[in-house]
Amino acid sequence: MPDIPTEAETLARAQAGDPEAFGALVEPHLSLFYNAIVRILGNAQDAQDALQEALIGIHRDLPRFEGRSRFTTWAYPVCVNAALMVRRSRVRRREEGMEVRVSHGDGEGRPMEVEGSLDWSVEAEALDHMEQAEMRALILKALDEIPETHRIVFVLKDLEEWETEAIASNLGISLALVRQRLHRARMALQGRLKSHLSGRRP
């Protein structure tokens, strides 16, 4: 039975230019890379294109990877940056007229739609009420419906768990604007998901 090469051996062969070794190196991490990208772009076709560019970039820069960190730690930001580059190059379609409005109260000082949220299942265990695939589709759809500038901040902060300062630096915006966009995104998402989650708690 032939020995299965270690990741270090596969990495060395990939760094030497062996395409099959490169494929074997990245294949176990494809889901991780692809999911990071598709969350940012919210579109499977764009994500496929961005991932392909990211993989090309990883292959190009692989000789410079010195193995001081895990391969995924080194490669993951390349994928996120590829997604951000695709995002930057996109025509800002759908932005106009889609500014999400946050409710500002009912005239009595009470924020509109908040009372209904009292019945929310606010823990992640709310997923138990729905099939994972259904919730996944619902959240992806909701993410796709909010403005891109807001979605990117939500993804980086709440899903990828970046620091606020890193987001501000990467996007070239202020900390206050990061928080404002994050808030708009969260409010928009809770508004879209609420009807699917409330009232399902036994």
């Binding site: 230019g17 395409p19 490169f22 494929g23 990245v26 294949e27 494809l30 889901s31 991780l32 692809y34 999911n35 598709v38 969350r39 499977a44 994500a47 496929q48 294109d49 991932l51 392909q52 560019e53 993989l55 090309i56 970039g57 292959h59 190009r60 500002h104 109260g105 009595e108 000082g109 009470r110 924020p111 908040v114 009372e115 949220s117 009292l118 929310w120 606010v122 992640a124 997923l127 919730m135 996944r136 619902l138 959240i139 992806l140 939500f154 902060k157 709440d158 899903l159 768990e161 606020t164 900390l175 928080r179 404002q180 994050l182 808030h183 969260r186 409010m187 998402l189 809770q190 609420k194």
Partner: protein
């Protein structure tokens, strides 16, 4: 909730500032006002819990499936084809 004391913000103000509050961004006095508001306003506190729960909910719902999506496999196949061709994005050969 109507404004009871000068330092306690109203519901719309709290709703607007919840994310900043959760990040600890507002000055101490503002954070205190929001904190007191949340202690006495069930509606705004419910919204706070929803916003706090969203990241975990999203991460759990969107966590990577074990098998790569077809689009991910297509991307790898496309990248490998380009690498084998030595096309755009290939490594410099130094010549």
């Amino acid at each position: 909730m109507k404004k009871a004391f000068w330092f306690i913000p109203s519901c719309p103000e709290v709703e607007e500032e919840l994310t900043e509050y959760l990040e600890g961004a507002p000055p101490f006095r503002r954070r205190l006002g929001i904190r007191v508001h949340l202690l006495i306003c069930r509606a705004c506190d419910a919204l706070r819990r929803v916003l706090e729960a969203l990241p975990a909910l999203g991460r759990k719902a969107l966590e990577a499936p074990e098998a790569p999506a077809p689009e991910a496999r297509e991307a790898l196949a496309g990248a490998l084809a380009r690498i084998r061709e030595g096309g755009p994005g290939g490594r410099d050969c130094g010549c």
